[in-house]
Amino acid sequence: MLSLTLTGLKLKNPLLLAAGVMGTTGGSLKRIADNGAAAVITKSLGIEPKTGHANPSMIEVDCGYLNAMGLPNPSYKNFQQEIDIAQDSGVPVIASIFGGCALDFSQIAGTLDADAFELNVSCPHAHGYGADIGTDPNLVEDITVAVKTATDAPVWVKLTPNVTDIKSIGLAAQRGGADAVVAINTVRGMAIDIESGYPLLGNRFGGLSGRAIKPAAIKCVYDLYDALDIPVIGVGGISDWKDAVEFIMAGALAVEIGSAVGNNINIFNDISKGMETFLAKKEWTFNEIYGMAHKI
């Protein structure tokens, strides 16, 4: 009842594990898949191993979480074995990748064997292209083209909300040949310890995730659905089935769940059950609610 095909991948439901959450080990990815996720996305992988920022790297704030992990990852070179373990679960495994230039991206995508690639084009530590690749439509288009050339697997481009106009970035990804866009990555934010004046994150500032960003994410998904022909995958603040339904009504063909996994490792099963019950009660199909907010 919830199954669908997303950029050629067969999914038993529209619920995916978001990048950077429980995504560093094959074992953790497999655990999430075994707990009901229809597909899992790895931690973003770069060219070289990276330790990330100093702790505190993640802090709970009023209505969500601030993190500045700093993309710690073992590099793509050490990661095929983890993907293979994750694939034992039987669900598609999507490799999230990042780099400082198109070449980095295509090198990784050309080497790794994964069911799809998600391009994290908002790496705060990119070399060559400056601080924020994902805010420049031309770079996003170039990188997408490069990855599409390097691999036959579906390519998703994950967008940052920290731009004046997310539609222009989504259109650039589409021009570059992306099979889908993913919205949103974290919202830039900061918190300060008033007892000492110190910023609460080792990196001083970071990205906001969790409930607080849901309205911003819904708006991005809604706008991208209008602007693009390729599917939009929604992410940001989902913590129950109602949130997932809201994203799908806004125009997300599937959704990713990140922060909420922390307090509920079984969230994928819970949400898919909740959605099924809701659709049955309303006598609606998945297709009827997909993009519903645009149709009325």
Partner: protein, 248 residues
Amino acid sequence: MKPVNAVITKVVEETPTVRTFFFDTSFNPEPGQFVMAWIRGVDEIPMALSYNNAITVQKVGTATSALFKLGEGDSIGIRGPFGNGFQLKGDHILLIAGGVGAAPLSPLAEKASSEGLKVTTLLGAKTKEELVFRERFEAAGSVMVATDDGSEGIHGYVTQLIPEQENYDRIYCCGPEIMMKKVLDKVDPGKAQFSLHRYIKCGIGICGACCVDGLRVCKDGPVFGGEVLKNSEFGVYRRNECGERVRV
């Protein structure tokens, strides 16, 4: 939760390399739970609660050294308590502590003895001076000691003290991973719980940095039953800050 401002009220030198920092704030943990201790401007690191309101720290690197510079009246930020605790069961329990692994086990010993359980502790360290919380374990029951240099107790590893035949209902263990692996190999895994050490970033079960296979040390642990650890990554490899596999 954001870190609370914990003001140091007392510092106790337990051994030449280990100090206990008492705070003005009680965290009322289950024995075995930990906190994230934020030494501002330096780092945030996981520490077991050795008392309701204290952590017991071995000086090993940057953050612990910075902490050792702090005294009464200074403050650090503390998030927690996090994770699960040890599950106390049975009538006669065996505690196996290596080095500063005594920190989470000492409140367990006290809780067990106050509940009328018989407590036997195997306490290991490099040398006699480095034995942590010997008095607390002795007050809770009987203690056997092993030191690497033989300066106290038997000369060798604490694992050598594990009796082959004696009947313990439960075994609780914390120490270096190699030592814990030896214990796991030697005892009935169904009876034993181990408090693990992995690189902790978020501390709240989200980032996945601390995973042993799919299990999060910060949230599903740090205490795990021996059975789930059998045939796992435990004792074989851990992950460094990058997430690379590193042999234990």
